[in-house]
Each structure stands twice: as C-alpha cells, then as structure tokens.
C-alpha cells in the first residue's frame, strides 16, 4: 500500500488525542500529547522520503551533487518540530507539578472548579 506511512501518521495523531480525552492523569495526558505530536514527525519524514534515495549528506567535494537524496527540508522541519514538542512537554509538566501542589490531585476530572 503506497500510502501506508501517511495512515500511520494520522493514526498516531488520533490515538494520541483519544489518550488525552480518556486520561485520568495529567502526566499521562502530556505523554499522549507527545504521541500525537510524533505523528507529525512521521508525516513530515514520509512526505520527504524517496525509495532508494541516499541521506542528504555529501561527503566528497561536490563536482556535481546528486539530487537522488531524501528531502532535507522536511527533516529540518522535523527537527524544529521535535524542539518545540520538547519545550511544550516540559512546560506542561511544570504546570502539572504546580497543579498537584495547589490541589493535591492530577486527575483532570477533579480539576473542574474555576478559581477566581
């Protein structure tokens, strides 16, 4: 099946979202968000893949660089994506720590009271 990788990416995003919806633990919800974000890595990398192509590295002095490599642009975007995902995860974990200190709970269902 020629679109298999795209379906894997879509599946990861949906299953990560389902994990967030069903979560009873904020840390688990944050990990589920990371799973959903990893779907975007799979999507980006599979967009740039080409059968039989080399990695986008050129070791010898380039007289005539071959274009038969996988797309380096989406790989660079994946790197950006991973950095953003890591920062988001760490910030959410910091907030989860403070929520636990304030309320004594990390179950999202118990955090339904608005405080002014």
């Amino acid at each position: 099946m020629s679109h298999y990788a795209y379906f894997v990416a879509g599946w990861l995003i949906v299953i990560g979202a389902l994990g967030i919806v069903r979560s009873r633990n904020l840390v688990q919800a944050i990990v589920c968000l990371a799973v959903a974000q990893s779907g975007t890595y799979v999507l980006l990398l599979s967009v740039g893949y080409q059968w039989g192509a080399a990695p986008p590295l050129f070791s010898e002095p380039a007289t005539k660089p071959t274009l038969h490599v996988v797309d380096p642009l989406v790989q660079a975007m994946t790197l950006t994506d991973i950095v953003v995902s890591a920062t988001v995860t760490s910030m959410l974990l910091a907030i989860a720590i403070q929520i636990h200190k304030r309320t004594g709970s990390i179950d999202p269902d118990e955090l339904d009271a608005l405080r002014g």
């Binding site: 679109h3 379906f7 879509g10 986008p56 590295l57």
Partner: protein, 260 residues
C-alpha cells in the same frame, strides 16, 4: 461534561477527521515518489554554500531566521519553567542528610560513560555541518550527560559540579551570540543571518561559513538550557518541601470570590 459525553463528542469529531483524512491521504502523491520540489531547490543551495549536511544548511543558513525563532522558543520555555517552578514563599528547601549510595556497578558505568558522553556531545555539535547532528542534538546530549553524576553519584555531587548560575549566564550568552551573528550578517552582507564567512573547502571541519559557528552557540545555549531546566525539576523533586498541604488554597491574598 461526563466522561461518556466527552468520549461521544470525541468519537464524532474523530470520525469526521478520520473520513476527511483518509480522503485527503488517498489523493496525495504516493509514498516514496521521485517528486520533491523543495529538495531540488534546497540541495543545490546547500552545496553552493559549502555545507555537506543539507539539513544543517537549511536549519542554520537557508532558513536561519526560523532557527532563531526556534531557539528563542527554547529560551523562553526555560524562563517560563524557572518562573512556574520557583519556590513559593511558604516552601522550604531541605536536604536529606544521607541519600544512600548507588550500586557499585552503577557508579562504574556512570564514571565510564561520563567522559564518553561529553566527547560524543562535543563531536555532534562541532560536526553538525558535516554529519547528522548539530547544536540542538549535541546540546541535549551534553546537558543530559552531566546528570550521569546524579545517577552514578549523589545530588550533592551534581550540585557541586553543576552550579546553576553560570549555566543561566551561558544560556543567555548563547542566545545573544546567535542574534549577534545574525546582525553581523545584516551589517556585512545582505540580510539577517546571511552567510558572510568564506565557506572554505567542501566537507572539511572549517567549511560552511557561519553554520558551524551557529551550531556552536546553539549547542552552548541548549546544553545550558537543559541543565537549568532539569535543575528546576530536580529542585521540585528533591529539595523543595511544601510547608503544609493546602487542599484548596486561593492563591492571592485578596481572596476573591470563587466561581463555579
């Protein structure tokens, strides 16, 4: 909203997204095909700038402004975490007297791998323009590798080897140096973050112009940022003790009325 209602709402949304997603994916170009317009544009540009690793060339040269934004996001998140996880006024810092000793095999493994990991991290940073790697990846290796001292030693040893204050400084200096390199591109060349240094001979350590320099400053910033970030989480887990559990504490002193 009860859990059942939430699941039903999610199921309806996921079904719509799933159907539209399948329809969209089926008209995409087939996986692994030969048509890559961005690749055809980016690879000659990377080679023209003397960068062996096309991914690094895109990150630090062709799309340098994006990486500046990415690096700023990282800096900001470390600052946010330092603010969110600061000790509250009624929390005290405590230190356990005896934290126990790690296993001998753990100590041996930690001491064995500590120098290796630092060298690998430096290698990944300095060769980011030649081989896979770069400032972000190498910085994370360096920043986390230091914490082998905690795994193999004690928290006190880690605190002695890794005073947080200089890392806070070096993180800011790394971010500032990135901006300064960008501005020097503006002054000497055409635009912000223009590659103004001679690109050297292809495939050698001193090539690719500003790319290895930017990799270096990003490596300094990310390594320091990871150290600062992890130190905040370590403080929460190890030294900070809440004064007393406040089950339902309103944060501000004015005790505004609660809304439900």
């Amino acid at each position: 909203m009860t859990r059942t209602v939430r699941l039903v709402v999610f199921g309806a949304g996921a079904a719509v997204v799933g159907i539209l997603g399948v329809l969209a994916i089926l008209v995409l170009p087939a996986f692994g095909g030969p048509a890559h317009a961005y690749r055809d544009a980016a690879v000659p540009a990377a080679v023209a700038h003397g960068t062996s690793n096309a991914v690094s060339s895109i990150n630090f040269d062709l799309r340098g402004l994006d990486t500046f934004g990415e690096e700023t996001i990282f800096l900001t998140s470390v600052v946010v975490i330092a603010v969110v996880l600061r000790s509250a006024s009624d929390e005290t810092e405590q230190r356990k007297k005896s934290a126990g000793r790690p296993l001998d095999s753990t100590v041996f493994g930690g001491l064995l791998f500590f120098p290796i990991i630092l060298i690998v991290g430096l290698d990944v940073v300095t060769h980011g323009h030649l081989t896979p790697g770069g400032g972000f990846q190498g910085g994370v290796i360096l920043g986390t590798g230091i914490h082998l001292l905690y795994v193999a030693g004690t928290y006190r040893l880690l605190e002695r080897v890794r005073p947080v204050r200089p890392f806070e400084w070096s993180e800011a200096i790394g971010a500032g140096a990135f901006a300064c390199l960008g501005i020097s591109g503006l002054l000497l060349g055409a635009s912000f973050l223009a590659n103004v240094i001679p690109v050297g001979s292809f495939g050698t350590l001193f090539s690719a112009g500003t790319v290895p320099l930017l990799n270096g400053v990003v490596g300094v910033e990310v390594a320091s940022g990871v150290v600062v970030l992890l130190s905040k989480f370590f403080e929460q887990a190890i030294t900070v003790r809440p004064a007393h559990r406040r089950a339902a504490k309103t944060d501000d002193k004015s005790s505004s009325p609660r809304e439900r």
